[in-house]
Symmetry: D2
Subunit: 388 residues, 4 copies
């Protein structure tokens, strides 16, 4: 557990390393957070839920930090308004680094005698590390958004490259049958993956491969963004209000489409999976294709079959399932009960994982969720169809 | 069919009869429509989809009306902006009455030889009548909203009274089992009730009776509206932004709670079912009760058992199901395909029917839907619980 | 005074006569008011400030009316929110008519023995009549705005016609000199016209005639609405936010410019004075012309010279003067002190009067005022220039 | 001129020196700008208007900088949106420092032979230096605003102290008379101070001293912020919308009023002049005092008398004059003509200067201007009264 702790924590620092103090302090929109805030918030998480209650004699690094770095845990006390996170130039980046060192030392000491650790502590460390891994992905999506707002379009990593989508034609057929979905057995899972429960799934065919930029360009050429008949009403309203003509981070320039990436602005790679599309766009694209998006359970059953290509590690895949509690779900008491449950409305479930998801953080039961208009995550499309 | 046509059409006129020309012209919020508009729009529906394509020699009553009275059918041509419906003082109420007479005469003539009618025409008449019945309910909810914005709080019908909730303790137990949900067999249903399909439901217990105002007052006394831990995050944001302290149309006055009704302002009746609550409130109340809201399929199975009290005709009942297409659902081509499908996001399903739903318009497979913040409809709560 | 009272009051009713109950109830934007409200508010003014304090035994027509029909007099008690004035379908138009009759009878009785009337009463009657005359003009501008929001573009008076601008070339030269501006001597004036005071005016040349539609079309052809260099920064922001391409109520149709008037939509008359332009547009036009707008005192001195054409009765003329108190101005105590003083910021002064101004309501010292973006009044342009 | 250039430029760097890279990059509201932006924009000003047209062989430091650091000069080309200035983490602070060095070297070379310089160049240098001085004041007001948004309330300079107001009872009496106002004679002035022209001023009495915090606390205790009768209508709307209960940057804490300053949060000093009040508040305070605000010309004449205390160097003083062009004012052609003229609406004139105004940047004819709701500048109040 100490090794896992050190590995996750140092990965965050590696991700932040290419970023200057200036890069780390700004907030480019209310939904995104500064790098510095991600680094401090994940640290506060351990201080608040692990060290304060369980490490005798622990001294808080700074009494102002709970207010500054609590995100949305009402039960953990008052907190800085989310849209103002970019105002915190002080404490500076160096102090946040020192905060991390301070907390890491205390956690390391607490975990020294792993055999003697109560189960409760192991549970908190485990959720804290998974929590930090989520923020590792957000750190990347948020800095990409910030850099896309800079007219100079800087690169986070000049060597960063898109992977091509796997060539995986055909579909996985799922006949009608009862399956148990959700988390069971060992290993970590969030509370929103439980209780595991039985559902009737299928018959449905799930595409083995992801939708590519080439597919998407065909949709665009066919007037996809202009044809109201293809869209949900709220979706077309977003198209018009936001002026969407292409996926997020795409820019037409010098006669061709480019995309802002962690490697800076590059020409759109036709063979790569489409990315930075909202649920609205995914759904319209599916209708234009004469197909559908899979439900989250259809996806889960198909993923378990082992026959999907690019299920993990490329782009999150929108499902047609609204984010909702599993039957008999009840959030835990206390602040950690706010982790997932209170967001179960007005969002859609995504399954799989993306190239920005840290290693070890993906599984078939994982439920990611974003509002249907969100485009700044690494979000793509896998199609489904129903047998006639 | 002629008789059905006449019955539905004249019911609309009876509902509008207590309202003056001034009452009928205003629009109290973008989501509500003027009475006059409801009367004209339902008439345009028959003119546009029945008479124009199928009644040889039919002459439109007024060439400006398609623009004025199309609601949201993009494929049926351009239309007046929804939030500006209250600007149409001319054509006046009398002209709209004449429009109804004109269209009714043409439809009556078209339907004269019922035996000879093509199936297509019967289908359009049927959907047109069901469409008008939906607007009959909206006519009442919208005028109630308009009157609630008038400081004089006028009564639509001074004799209008709330019914008490049925005394129906206990629950209906649904063991785990596969059920076919959605519309099958004869009779009219909307496309969103199809395709019928098999789902696994249960085990779950559904309350036989509705939540009452008495129950709700206990929630309020217990600080329900102040306790963030009971709410979805978006829900508590709505509570704070809108200043919700009680259900919609409630007002504290002279030391007690009153509610604005179609009969004017009256004291809250503790035995009556709670009404005008949003999904957010319903969901928070369920959590406070240690229970849940039923899914739409749990509700449908329970309703078919015949053991629910007040399933129909009192208040619509929020379910925990987001409004989504049934598997393999595909909207019809053309303008009528816009009827339901394009709204299948960002809304929650309600089941049953309300005291404002016209006779004959309710069934166990009916899917009503509103955004989770909506409070101006006749919306209430039925609880569910999962066996331990 | 009785005769004056009867004349003004009956003129309001004549102006409202062509309007149906539906026309009279709606509010087309927060800045405009329903006709019915104008009729009731001007009546409340006499009830509140004349009858209640000065008519022994007077009984209010309806105790709810002070709340409904007070406009902005904080000291006169709470009032209905301005943007909700269009929600008041009840009391209906007939009841408002009865309210007018009730108050008129009481005022008539109070004024019966004119010789015995205290000066205070005469003062209130006088301000009440002038107040009602202001609302007579607003009644017309507001219904024109409402009708312009109706896709059918109804005519208030099908026989209504624009007058041509007077042919009045040349300028009135005002050499430098001290003048007394503001109200002095007899006759009614608002408090904002006082105290009369001495100012240094000139040298300046004021155009004898008004800017015409012909002039304005030249400005448009020259790209006036596209050239940021001609505009105040806030003005060009308004051009872009509102999409202004021509004066208010203008519409391009069938290959030519038309304008929505009290007589319905008619082709733009090139010889007529330009109307429905904002201060921003007037100011940009003046810059494009190589000239300026006059100050309010330059206008006043020029108007007194008797050499201006169309000074009154055609269009209000924007000045370059912000609306501010005259030196040593102090508003009266009590509610009537709120009449003018509290609006003396963020508005520009207009001088003259318009074709919608009732007879007898114009004078050289009159100060009208609107925000620089307002276009729904009868507002036009007179130019000035400074000798080199 | 070289010495002046070096002095002004190095003063900017001294002001920025206490600020970290993180402090310098953020933008706390659309009206404020990052420190780094101020440093770069003032440099661009010399590059754009001096070096590019007049320094043969000058090479731009970076071709992207004109887009990034042009503020609002439409004629100088496209520019980054003002509210996004805080997104520019790269170029970093060090690069902006290098930009300053690069431009300074080129200017220094250009000015080497001062005797040979054409008048045009001297003019541009002069306006560039005055421009930079304006930004020196904004740099301080903007960083104070940014720090006030940080829950840690950092100090820009821990040793910073408010000065007490001068003890200067009594008034300066100005009898009626014609005065020439505006800039004449030698020395630099902005175009908005011209043409000098004759106006009639007085009789009026101008307070010798400024309104103090002690005076303001009396206004607060008397319910000033709750009494609508004291306020302009727009002003009271701002009080309610913004929740104003005290001047800007004031906070009630530990039972007493504190104020956020460049030295951090300190108790309000009763003897100090009130600061960070809007025009709306200044105007309401004047009414409550039974007095008025001076006009800008009254202030100018009084200031020239030499009898005012704290006319300069403490707080800017709101006048009752809206910001408008002087008679016959015409902005210069080209981009520099946008400097002042296009802002002459919707703002009020302030006279004097503040403790944040750099030395040598104040004069009796100087016209500062801000919208009536602005509170983040160093703005205070001097009263006037009219003889009975």
């Amino acid at each position: 557990m100490r090794a896992a702790y050190r590995a996750v924590r140092s990965h965050t620092e590696r991700l932040a390393a290419p970023l200057s103090a200036e890069d780390q302090v700004i907030q480019s929109m209310p939904d995104a957070s500064p790098t510095k805030w991600h680094r401090a918030h994940t640290t506060w998480f351990f201080e608040q839920f692990l060290l304060e209650p369980h490490a005798p004699g622990y001294r808080r690094f700074d009494d102002r930090f709970p207010f500054l770095f609590n995100s949305y845990y009402v039960a953990a006390g008052p907190r800085h308004a989310r849209p103002r996170r970019g105002m915190v130039t002080r404490p500076d980046v160096a102090t946040v680094g020192a905060y991390r060192v301070h907390v890491d030392a205390a956690v390391d000491a607490l975990l020294a005698d792993e055999a003697a650790l109560p189960r409760e502590i192991a549970t908190i460390v485990e959720i804290g590390l998974n929590h930090e891994q989520q923020h590792q992905e957000l750190l990347l999506t948020d800095i990409l958004h910030a850099f896309s707002e800079n007219p100079c379009l800087p690169a986070y990593d000049p060597d960063w490259r898109w992977c091509a989508a796997a060539r995986a034609p055909g579909t996985v057929m799922i006949p009608e049958g009862i399956h148990t979905v959700g988390h069971q057995g060992g290993g970590f899972a969030y509370d929103n993956e439980s209780p595991a429960h039985r559902v009737l799934v299928g018959p449905v065919a799930i595409a083995r491969g992801l939708v590519t930029n080439d597919d998407w360009l065909a949709f665009m050429r066919d007037g996809g963004y202009d044809n109201a008949a293809l869209w949900l009403s709220d979706g077309f309203a977003a198209v018009q209000a936001e002026g969407w003509r292409a996926p997020g981070h795409w820019r037409e320039q010098d006669g061709g489409w480019h995309v802002m990436t962690l490697g800076g602005l590059v020409p759109v790679d036709r063979a790569a999976p489409v990315c930075h599309v909202s649920y609205y766009e995914a759904e319209a694209f599916a209708r234009w294709s004469g197909r559908h998006l899979p439900s989250e359970f259809e996806w889960e059953v198909a993923a378990r079959s082992g026959e999907l290509a690019d299920a993990f590690g490329v782009v999150w895949q929108w499902t047609r399932s609204a984010y909702a509690p599993y039957p008999a779900y009840r959030a835990a008491d206390g602040a950690l009960g706010e982790y997932n449950g209170k967001f179960m409305v007005n969002q859609m479930v995504l399954r799989g994982s993306s190239l920005a998801t840290p290693p070890g953080h993906a599984r078939a039961t994982y439920r990611n969720f974003f509002p249907p208009s969100a485009r700044w995550q690494f979000t793509g499309v896998r199609l489904a169809s129903f047998p006639a």
